[in-house]
Symmetry: C2
Subunit: 351 residues, 2 copies
């Protein structure tokens, strides 16, 4: 498996299926782990980092993670390859831009990824489409146990798993869902969502994680507390209470639009498809914005003839690094805008 | 002929044909005249105005102006009817909103209109499609001569025709053309056009005359000097020099776009048609803007399957009063935006 083979298709967890998929794009559970007997990375020399990398790579690669598993040495990877991995949420921006020996293990279908020598020695993630946090947790927990049979994690009987940043100490878990909330924004209620998230001590981030703005009405919601509460409690709280409540608010807002402003709603979704099918130059920001409206229109059954998997595919394939890797060459922004518009146009006019 | 019969079609002079029609939408020659033996209107009593109206109406209606000629008493007309006449350039906004006995004579096809008791006792206009100022002048001059056989105009051997406003004294002529200059604006050269017009002592106005902004890249260009220069000189100057020069500049700008920014050009015109064919709510400003881009795209042969007459028809039929008169009822702005989008969508999707 090569990177340009995966870069031409959509990640499985971004395919548009799964429970509550109209609103919950995907679920993710991440665990932060560190090896016993090694210092945290900020205090490691390069040879020590190499040692950690070798040890963890061997442990993770020896697991049964499906038909194909591949490893990429991030310190030696080309910029464009790293950017594609970031756009696919397989590595963090920090991991792409860091220095020193580091890598990532990726399972086929991209349901699993393990960054080695990011902020912690090991950061593993399991992704699934729709609201499937329990399934993510069960799977990553099994993988975690299998790894623990091979190596020793830094673990404190009182504090739990030790991590480079104190915010991750304890369970080392981060539970997050990517939400599509166009109607809450359109009806002016998105601030309420932010306020509610804050009051529940949850973090809200944009499509590409920490520090990026929410574009195209996509929001990543994740826990911030990892100490003094079990993994199962966090997953249950998200699955049974937090996320269903937000989904309900979004669906109420969609119903409001249908009842009170159907014309405004249809205007926005129809304009989106009109522009996507006709524009010759589209920036990535505008593409996200328009595809978001289109996604809502299809999910609300106001637009027919376009499928959610096609829309999600376009979200992914029209991102800057994907465009360039798939076209086989570096492109200036104007060239990317042209190619992006071309891909969207031809894909949507096929339908 | 009733107003709602003419309001459902395009004026002949706005049909998109005629010399240099890609850039010159239409030509118009207007004459301002006053009756001898009567004071200017600002000093007239209502009975005197009625006398003037009767006299001029009889004179104009007795002429041979084609198959059908109709008269509308503006002082008794409904607001919506008056607004439709303004939108069709058949009467001025001032004539619509004035007080006292006044009216308009309109010939079939709308090539000729005569406002009685506007600013002057009589203001006649002849319209033609494309650059046809000489033809406009010949026709209005003949009509003027025929009227002069029936009544006496206020005429001074030294100053010429006397008019209520000194700017019209002399020939009483106003020669004007409606220009479509999208490429000059798109290439950032429209200010040069304004400066050139100013230096030639010409007035530039928007689509609806005095005091309105140019929207949709349409500009009315007209002479300001009426004294000390003959009608033929003014018409010749416009026809042989001024207008061909501006047409050349616009065409150069279009060529520039084709050579240097073909993608930007196609993006703008494709977006315009994408929005026009899909939007569910369109304001009149946005409609003018998008139809202007579409008109340019068709004239430059970058868009096929839409004809200029259809586009011009849409410019006219989607104006607020037209929308309401043709739908048979008063509409709030939101209702107009909906109906406007519906008309545009169904007309363009027929093609």
């Amino acid at each position: 498996m090569k990177l340009n083979e995966i870069s031409s298709r959509t990640s499985e967890w971004f395919g548009g299926s799964g429970p509550l998929a109209d609103v919950v794009v995907s679920s993710r559970v991440r665990l932060a782990r560190n090896l016993a007997g090694f210092q945290f990375l900020s205090r490691c020399s390069s040879p020590q980092k190499t040692q950690i990398l070798e040890k963890l790579k061997a442990a993770v690669m020896s697991l049964d993670l499906g038909d194909e598993v591949f490893y990429i040495g991030i310190d030696k990877a080309a910029v464009l390859d790293k950017d594609v991995l970031v756009e696919r949420h397989l590595i963090s921006r920090q991991h792409a831009h860091a220095k020193g020996p580091r890598g990532v293990v990726i399972a086929n279908g991209e349901f699993f990824t393990a960054m080695i020598n990011e902020e912690d020695h090991l950061r593993m993630q399991v992704f699934k489409a729709g609201l499937q946090l329990r399934e993510c947790w069960e799977q990553i927990s099994k993988i975690d146990d299998m790894i623990e049979q091979k190596i020793d994690y830094a673990f404190h009987p009182r504090y739990g798993y030790l991590t480079a940043c104190p915010t991750n100490v304890g369970t080392g878990i981060r539970v997050s869902v990517m939400l599509h909330l166009p109607a809450l924004r359109m009806t002016g209620q998105i601030e309420k969502f932010f306020a509610a998230a804050k009051s529940m001590n949850l973090a809200v981030r944009g499509l590409f994680g920490e520090g990026t703005e929410a574009v195209g009405d996509f929001y990543q919601l994740s826990n911030q507390v990892t100490l003094g509460v079990s993994e199962v409690e966090i997953v249950d709280e998200f699955t049974d209470s937090t996320i269903p409540k937000i989904v309900e608010y979004e669906n109420l807002a969609r119903d409001q639009l249908l009842v009170k402003q159907p014309e405004m709603l249809d205007d926005k979704t129809s304009r989106a498809i009109g522009l996507l099918k006709n524009a010759r130059l589209i920036s990535s920001q505008e593409a996200l914005f328009l595809l978001s409206h289109l996604r809502m229109g299809v999910n609300m059954k106001r637009i027919t003839g376009v499928s959610i998997p096609v829309i999600n595919e376009l979200f992914m394939l029209t991102q800057p690094a994907h465009l360039q890797l798939n076209s086989g060459k570096r492109l200036e922004p104007a060239g990317r805008d042209r190619l992006r518009a071309e891909i969207i146009r031809s894909r949507l006019n096929q339908n």
